[in-house]
Subunit: 155 residues, 2 copies
């Protein structure tokens, strides 16, 4: 049976028949993030999920790592990504690949929303907080020292 | 080991460290298509591939079907998609899901390049040509009759 569908892009960065979710509202490590699940929650057979995340000005994702990989495509505004001990600027249509177990965080230090598509395997592990040695590596790097947000020792 | 990487988007719709390939050059069913493999050919562990395809003005993809699903995100210009007996206009950031074994074709009838991200499972079956009953369905639909390109009976 044909279950194909089109999600039309709408002004304000939303899509037809896709509901915006406030992401991890109760978790203070995620600040000002909306999620739109475009592919993956409607009985598709694909082995991946496609989500659109938007980080409000001043917001950020958790500083975390996991064994599953991330693919990020910037589609709105711009932002920054801490990826292990490197800091990347992300602008329109830049594509970021985050390899397994690599500490990472997405940050919007700008005054406009920062939106990106994020593709992940459908089956994936849960994010973990960083370990002290990860944080030591970030602190030892000129690029990332003082640029990540929200790590609390023992958190 | 951290194998993360950033592909910077460059003017003219290319990405750093991604080579443009002429797609199926010898196959007359694919006309004027370039492919850029962004994720999937560098020993990643992900269960999906991310490619950027660009169809030149007047070009089109094969009219085909396969059991693997397609996810298409329009990022340059605009185009059309035949999806079974429906015809969709695709514009910037529209997201199209093509379900298993659904006949489909992407077409650029416009004067500007039509570019889209296409996400597929890493493990997937090969495309097959349509069967006569598929074509009969396209011909019975006001939306798609005369709008698809290149079907030759017995091809």
């Amino acid at each position: 049976m044909d279950k194909s569908r089109l999600h039309k892009f709408k002004p304000g960065f939303s899509w037809s028949e896709v509901e915006k979710e406030r992401y991890k509202e109760s978790d203070s490590c995620w600040c000002g993030i909306d999620r739109n699940t475009l592919i993956g929650n409607r009985d598709e057979g694909v082995k991946f999920h496609l989500r659109y995340f938007e980080i409000a000005p001043g917001g950020n994702s958790s500083l975390e790592k996991h064994t599953h990989e991330h693919v990020v495509i910037c589609v709105r505004g711009r932002g920054r990504a801490v990826v292990d001990d490197r800091l990347h600027d992300l602008e329109n249509l830049d594509v970021l690949y985050v390899s397994p177990d690599t500490p990472h965080q997405l940050i919007n230090p700008y005054s406009e929303p920062f939106g990106f598509m994020c593709i992940v395997d459908a089956e994936r592990d849960r994010p973990r907080p960083l370990e002290a040695e990860d944080v030591a590596r970030l602190d030892a790097s000129e690029a990332t020292k003082g640029k990540y947000i929200g790590y609390i020792e023992g958190d």
